[in-house]
């Protein structure tokens, strides 16, 4: 409507004014203009002279009105003209890229899909109009752009929308020919921002305008979407997992819906979730236990709600490696104490943990428990990297720093930073500052700041409380119900400490703190930090066994067992193996190459470059292929290969590394290849993105309903082969209205003022 009025008044669309250049094309000779100016001067003099009979207001009013009219007439005599570059008919190509992805099958209004609406709009004479002016090249695109002759070839089955990549491909197809612009018709559910930015930069430098047409609604009226799942990549069998989901919705605020978690189709958790406010994502925490070993597909699902438009975004899947078999942890205790007994008992029934104990019983006398062989730890604490690094985690009890050689201290640091192992420092009279660790290599590894001086008299009993971070940490859940877990923490008897530790390292997290009479403010009970590839924890108490033995704790209570199992599992859950492998895209889109990236280390966790690394890939149908990996040559220990998933489903990849004919390491990866459902997440039409694409390249953005304007606008793109057209402005209806208006205003003024 507004545009119609504009074009009625100003004769041409706004784009012409935007793109055009104003010139004066008067054919009149200069003397005539001089004469006109002279006449104007005479008229002004005439007003001023007669002004003696008029008042100041009348004289000024008449002068302004008559002067404006005269100035307008002189302006018109100069013949104002817009010169606009217009694409020469049939000399330019126009690329039209139409989104062929599955999100185009979304029916925003519940009845007509985006694809149907698009076809309907294109079936008008739009394409014909464009074809009269341009040579059209139509592409359908999702993750790639493919040339089609007719929009009838659209299938709307593409997996991913990659606007940037599609633009690149279309531009290369049109390289060397004059291009007036590109038209991108899409819902904008682009999953690859990086590609797009690179493509836009290219378009700007080549002055290629991109016209974007948005299909669909910017907001669904009714939708529930699981936007994100944050889960660990690898866990031990039997681990109680805590996974965070971000759920958003529109149209169902306050409704309670069931959320289920399935392990390969078997429901392992179901809970009710109250949906948040419209457009506000809410984090939902779900607990479940991974009991089946191997790579498992976990599905998180909210059932389709009545009136909901998009079903696909109601579920998310994630692959988690559930490992089995004992993970070896070395617990070195510097003095006999009951922590050893009760920690061993707590994890004795856990088949996934092997707690090897090296107990110093007297000076240079050690007791070894749960070792695999008579040779293991026979010389006491390891002195070789290979020996220490064969463990996944290390628990250091009350043992003074001076027990270790300088090399052993550094080796413990390397165990965490290079090997990626975890270390847990327990409290005691020989631990932390009291153990003389200040100034040693270990000090940097600790998640806590040591006190400058030991305090031999510091012994405090304290009530242990989870911090905000601790309350939500998976390893500190004493019950699957968060409320009951908190209540359980609250009911536990006090523990004691000899180690005053109140300051965290930057980047460390406090998970448990202690309080009680005489206890320093902020006394830390459990703190953690990432250190290099590994994890470092401090637990400065020495009698957690009280949680097992205390008379207030019922015999059947499992708090102590649960605490230690979860802490020790946390230590080993994500410790890397000698050969680790990852993929560039997970899940991997079918028929698109995926980079396999492996890191290989020897038993001392030094990177190896001269190994023969190969992958045995088992496709979902059971067929196997061998794929060699090559050393990247840019980074030690890094091996790469490219893999093309040909079918959907889980591809099981077994990597082996050989050196001198002997296997040195092995690793596994499960890669899910799928037609990506990412299209249906955030599937609302993304107008801001499309508007940015247009504005950054000199094009325009149109909702699909305004696509009709596209045909006229594109011809003024200024790109390709153009000719300059001149458009007279003097005969605009607006000018006529202005002249009539000025004359009428003078008449009305005179009448009102009683002038002749």
């Amino acid at each position: 409507m507004a545009l119609g009025i504009w074009e009625f008044l100003f004769k041409y669309p706004p784009l012409v004014y935007e793109k055009g250049r104003l010139v004066f094309a008067t054919p009149l000779p200069g003397w005539l203009l001089g004469l006109a100016l002279l006449l104007a001067a005479v008229a002004a003099w005439s007003y001023l002279r007669r002004g003696r009979d008029l008042g100041r207001t009348d004289r000024t009013g008449l002068l302004v009105l008559r002067g404006a009219l005269l100035a307008l007439l002189i302006l018109l005599l100069l013949r104002p003209t817009l010169q606009v570059p217009v694409a020469v008919d049939q000399e330019n190509y126009l690329g039209i890229l139409i989104d062929d992805s599955r999100s185009m099958l979304v029916a925003d209004d519940g009845t007509t899909t985006r694809a149907d609406e698009l076809i309907r709009q294109l079936d008008t004479d739009l394409l014909e109009t464009l074809a009269e002016r341009f040579r059209l090249r139509i592409f359908r695109f999702s993750s790639d752009a493919n040339r089609v002759e007719d929009v009838g070839e659209m299938t709307f089955t593409g997996g991913q929308t990659r606007i940037g990549r599609a633009l690149e491909q279309a531009r290369s197809e049109l390289a060397g020919v004059p291009v007036a612009g590109m038209v991108v018709i899409t819902d904008g559910a682009d999953q690859s921002e990086a590609d797009l930015n690179a493509s836009l930069l290219q378009a700007r430098t080549t002055s290629l305008p991109i016209y974007t047409v948005g299909v669909g609604r910017e907001e669904f009226q009714r939708d529930v979407e699981i936007r994100r799942v944050s889960s660990p990549r690898s866990v031990l069998r039997g681990t109680s997992m805590m996974v965070d989901l971000a759920i958003s919705q529109t149209g169902y605020a306050g409704r309670t819906v069931p959320l289920t978690v399935e392990d390969e189709g078997r429901v392992v958790n179901a809970q009710d979730v109250e949906l948040p406010m419209d457009g506000t994502p809410a984090t939902v925490r779900v607990h479940f236990t991974a009991n089946e070993p191997g790579w498992r597909r976990f599905t998180f699902r909210v059932p389709l709600q009545d009136g909901e438009l998009v079903a696909e975004n109601n579920q998310r899947e994630t692959l988690i490696q559930v490992r089995e078999g004992p993970q070896k942890i070395l617990y070195f205790e510097g003095e006999p104490r009951f922590e050893v007994k009760f920690m061993r008992r707590a994890v004795a029934d856990d088949p996934e943990l092997q707690l090897v104990v090296l107990q110093r019983t007297a000076e240079n006398k050690f007791l070894r428990l749960d070792v695999d062989s008579g040779e293991e730890l026979v010389d006491g604490f390891p002195v070789r990297r290979e020996e220490l690094f064969s463990y996944k985690a290390l628990v250091l009890g009350s043992v003074e720093a001076s027990f270790f050689s300088r090399d052993q201290l550094q080796m413990i640091v390397d165990f965490v930073s290079e090997r990626g192992g975890s270390v847990l420092f327990l409290g005691g009279k020989r631990s932390f500052t009291e153990g003389g660790y200040a100034g040693t290599a270990i000090e940097s590894l600790l998640p806590v700041e040591l006190e400058p001086e030991p305090d031999p008299g510091y012994y405090r009993e304290m009530k242990v409380t989870p911090t905000r971070a601790g309350r939500t940490h998976a390893a500190l859940q004493l019950d699957s119900d968060p409320e009951l877990s908190l209540a359980q923490w609250d009911s536990l008897p006090a523990l004691s400490t000899f180690n005053r530790l109140t300051r965290l390292k930057p980047g460390a997290t406090a998970l448990l703190t202690g309080s009680g009479p005489g206890v320093s403010d902020g006394q830390l009970v459990l703190a953690s930090q990432r250190f290099g590839r590994g994890l470092s924890l401090a637990l400065p108490v020495q009698d957690s066994w009280i949680w097992q033995m205390h008379a207030d704790i019922p015999l059947e209570d499992q708090t102590h067992e649960t605490f230690w199992r979860q802490i020790l599992r946390w230590l080993v859950n994500e410790v890397p193996t000698q050969l680790s492998v990852s993929a560039s895209a997970e899940p991997a889109p079918i028929h698109h190459p995926v980079e396999l990236h492996a890191e290989l280390r020897d038993s001392a966790f030094q990177r190896i470059n001269d190994a023969v690394v190969s992958a045995a890939i088992e496709a979902p149908d059971g067929s196997e292929t061998e794929l060699p990996l090559r050393w990247s040559s840019s980074r030690d220990g890094e091996y790469l290969a490219s893999f093309l998933p040909a079918a959907g489903g889980i591809h099981r990849i077994l990597l082996t590394a050989e050196r001198d004919g002997e296997q040195v390491a092995a690793g596994t990866l499960a890669l899910d290849a799928a037609e990506d459902d990412g299209e249906f997440f955030g599937a609302q039409m993304r107008a801001p993105l499309l508007r940015r694409v247009a504005e950054e390249t000199g094009g325009r953005f149109y909702p699909l309903s305004d696509i009709g304007r596209l045909a006229e606008d594109v011809q003024y793109s200024g790109s390709g082969i153009t000719r300059v057209e001149s458009y007279d402005l003097w005969d605009m209806p607006f000018v006529f209205l202005l002249v009539v208006g000025l004359i009428g205003a003078e008449w009305a003024f005179r009448r009102k003022r009683g002038l002749p």
Binding site: E335, R337, R345, A362, M549, D552
Partner: protein
């Protein structure tokens, strides 16, 4: 003949050298007259009516408290108390790295404070007559993870009496002989035979080591469902006397050496299994 005898003497002396050295270095304890029944001046009525005896008010400062079980039974629990307790605490803190509280610590079996001390030592258990609260206290203590070492009871009568009491505490567990290849005999010292440790008078006089018809010494035990020893039973032997009289010049070194070795092994076992 002279050479084997000399060698035997050297071996015996060197084997016990550490204990002697430690005993000599230990602070002198107030001792009772030689051969007398060593008892504290504590009440020894059938039902101990005091809440606590020598129990410490704080329990976490040291890693280990040599804890004496106080239980019902005439003239029973306090034999050799507290001297034996002081000696074992003192010697063990020198022989091992165990941070042992240097004090006696007697706790009733029905006292919730017992649960702060996962190792408890009981003597004269042949005279044990447990009340219901004590049965429950000891049972829960053991099932929660506590360790009971018993000592100094002799002969068939006392055995049957003790067996009857333990059947009340742990009816589902039987008492068995602990074989010499069990890890409790290797935890700190290598022990390859069970020795009968006599009361001090018999040890000094060189007379028969047995009493009350208890000819053969035994190391028996009660195991939990996971195969861990939770009750160590020193029967027909008296380790406590050997601890107490280790510094007595006439008391044979063999006995006190063995007694301390068994004591150290029981404690380190209890702290690690």
């Amino acid at each position: 003949m002279r050479i084997p005898l000399a060698r035997k003497l050297i071996l015996t002396l060197s084997g016990a050298a550490s204990v002697v050295a430690v005993a000599a270095a230990a602070p002198r304890m107030p001792a009772t007259p030689l051969g007398a029944e060593s008892t504290a001046s504590l009440d020894q009525q059938v039902v101990p009516d005091q809440a606590r005896f020598g129990v410490l008010t704080e329990s976490g400062v040291h890693n280990f408290y040599f804890t004496r079980a106080v239980f019902s039974g005439r003239r029973a629990w306090s034999t050799d108390y507290p001297q034996a307790d002081w000696w074992i605490a003192s010697v063990l803190s020198r022989l091992t790295l165990i941070d042992v509280a240097q004090s006696e610590n007697a706790v009733r079996l029905d006292d919730p404070a017992l649960r702060h001390f996962p190792f408890v030592y009981a003597v004269e258990v042949g005279r044990m007559r447990l009340r219901g609260e004590e049965v429950e206290g000891l049972r829960n203590y053991l099932l929660a993870g506590g360790f009971l070492a018993v000592d100094d009871f002799w002969g068939e009568y006392e055995w049957q009496s003790f067996e009857r009491e333990m059947a009340r505490v742990l009816p589902e567990h039987e008492i068995v002989e602990v074989p010499l290849d069990h890890e409790i005999f290797r935890t700190f010292y290598e022990i390859d035979q069970i020795i009968q440790v006599p009361v001090v008078g018999r040890g000094v006089s060189g007379g028969p080591t047995h009493e009350k018809g208890g000819i053969t010494p035994h190391f028996r035990g009660i195991f939990d469902d996971s195969g861990r020893l939770m009750v160590a039973i020193n029967y027909n032997t008296d380790l406590g006397d050997a601890w107490e009289w280790a510094e007595e010049p006439l008391y044979p070194l063999t006995y006190s050496t063995y007694a301390y070795q068994v004591g150290a092994n029981m404690m380190i076992y209890a702290m690690t299994r």
